[in-house]
Amino acid sequence: MHIMEGFLPGVWALAWYAIAAPVVGYGALKTARLVKDGDVNKSHIAVAAAFIFVLSALKLPSVTGSTSHPTGTGIAVVLFGPAVTAFLSTIVLLYQSLLLGHGGLTTLGANVTSMGIIGPLFGWTVYRSVKPHTDLQKATFAAALVADWTTYVVTSTQLALAFPAEPGLSGVIDSAITFLGVFAVTQLPIGIVEGALAAGLIGYISMSSESVRTRLGVTA
């Protein structure tokens, strides 16, 4: 989902920065507060960030003859919500844009918005709405899956807004379908892998402490 360096016109690069910056700032404050309050153990923030690190490093082959990678935001989303996830994703995206030439500084705002904010927001909403009706692992599976798929829908939309096939809304929709064609089929199985791995890990995390179970809305 990384939009490559320089591949968004300046005005769009700025616009996505403007959207992402306040959320990341709030997420950073919230993360600092969580650490200070001792409300949750620091290790849970670390493990949520580590999951993003591992999964977003895995460029998996998919059924379409191309590779793509999971986002790994599922654990952070169900534990801490979208704002903290935005902050943690920014760290990973910075690492990748500075050291790997993957993504970029000019497109960082857009990439943080898709992977760190809007994808997690949808995943979090799904988690909140299905959690009362099912168990923790199924709810986490759904959250991680939706966060992953939504991220790529947002990336396609971002590219389409910047590069519409023709001026006007229909051109944007045309372009969005073109870009989704690149990502969609590739991402379907990868989202399922990501959901299953997140569901597996959250099972272990929920065993670790009472405060985590309360946070996850798990009773018993």
């Binding site: 490559m4 320089g6 999964l55 590779t67 790997l100 030439g101 690149v182 597996g200 272990y204």
Partner: protein
Amino acid sequence: MNRWLAAGGLLMVGLILFSFTTAGAWGGADGAAGEKVDSVAPDYDPWFESLWTPPSGEIESLLFSLQAAIGGLIIGYYLGRGSPLQSASETP
């Protein structure tokens, strides 16, 4: 055994095995999206280059594996520091 991890792992292995048996360039979808930009807007020139890119594919994969290793280390530490060690120290 955690059934979710097993299912995720098997599916991942399945995808990798599938890639052995199927023709395809197996390039990154991110790069493919960049090429689509060229076809939708042929006049567009990327206006900024990465400040630094890994000098070769090998070094790039080194840095990718480093990223995965850092994450794996933290998750492994987190999972391993729990009850098994404590119960081991309780039985002398």
